[in-house]
């Protein structure tokens, strides 16, 4: 799992690649939360374009960030999920809660 984080305007953009499972979810969670707290970002964009595997540990990670952003009045958007990841997002209902970033 690789995670690149950068602040673009008011948004924290998290670009993930590789596989997301329970083994790496905790580290990802603390990396993202640390940057959200430092940068006070108004929104969080998680780019899933490079994620070639994700299980429900990834759903837990996204739901947790959704709750965190909602609690501080911010929003979260997901970008570029692969069909396999999107199938999981659809099953969980996350797609109804979290917006989709339209990427170029």
């Amino acid at each position: 799992m690789n995670c690149e984080i950068e602040q673009v305007g008011g948004a924290l953009v998290v670009k993930l690649s590789g596989e997301i499972d329970q083994h790496c979810a905790e580290e990802l969670r603390s990396d993202i939360d640390r940057q959200l707290d430092i940068k006070h970002s108004a929104s969080l964009i998680i780019d899933l374009g490079g994620v070639d595997f994700m299980d429900s540990s990834g759903l837990g990670l996204i739901m947790g960030r959704y709750r965190k952003m909602k609690a501080r009045g911010g929003k979260i958007l997901l970008a570029r999920p692969t069909p396999a990841v999107d199938k999981l997002l659809e099953l969980s209902g996350i797609n109804k809660l979290v917006g989709r970033e339209r990427t170029k």
């Binding site: 499972d21 329970q22 083994h23 595997f53 299980d55 429900s56 947790g64 396999a84 199938k87």
Partner: protein, 149 residues
């Protein structure tokens, strides 16, 4: 044609990726589509993760994985993931979508729902203190014919 494999791994989270990759490689002989293979790997990851974080929560135990492939006009992959951990006191409740025993740890509570949705059959046998066995199977429609071609 029937084929099988057995695998034993310690319940370390590092082994989640290995377990799903090994089962995925085994299932490849049935010539699954990309989606079917992803469904199998995701379901194995869920079952193995459950054994690690719930079955053997405060300890390291052994996770046993068995796979059988029946490859013919209709191909079926059967997978058993078994642990000798604490077991599940109420299987029916544990299988409800969004049910989790560890909400503070940001578990989604979707593990069994994912397995149910992504596989064709799912059977969970468990009892408090007696470990958990997850049996699941998936039909692979793109398999080779009975004569091996």
């Amino acid at each position: 044609m029937r084929n099988y494999m057995k695998l034993e791994i310690p319940s370390k989270s590092l082994n989640e990726a290995f377990a799903r990759a090994a089962v995925g490689a085994f299932a490849a002989q049935a010539d699954p589509t990309v989606e079917e293979l992803a469904d199998i790997k995701t379901s194995v990851s869920e079952a193995v993760t459950n054994s690690i974080i719930h079955g053997y929560r405060d300890t390291v135990g052994v996770i046993y994985i068995e796979c059988e492939a029946r490859v013919g006009k209709t191909c079926v992959i059967e997978i058993i993931v078994r642990d000798e951990g604490v077991g599940i006191p109420d299987v029916e409740r544990a299988m409800e979508p969004l049910f989790t025993t560890a909400p503070d740890e940001e578990r989604s509570g979707m593990g069994f729902t994912v397995m149910q949705s992504f596989m064709d059959t799912l059977d969970v046998i468990s009892e408090k203190g007696k470990g958990t066995t997850v049996k699941m199977s998936k039909k692979i429609n793109a398999g080779i014919s009975d004569d091996g071609y």
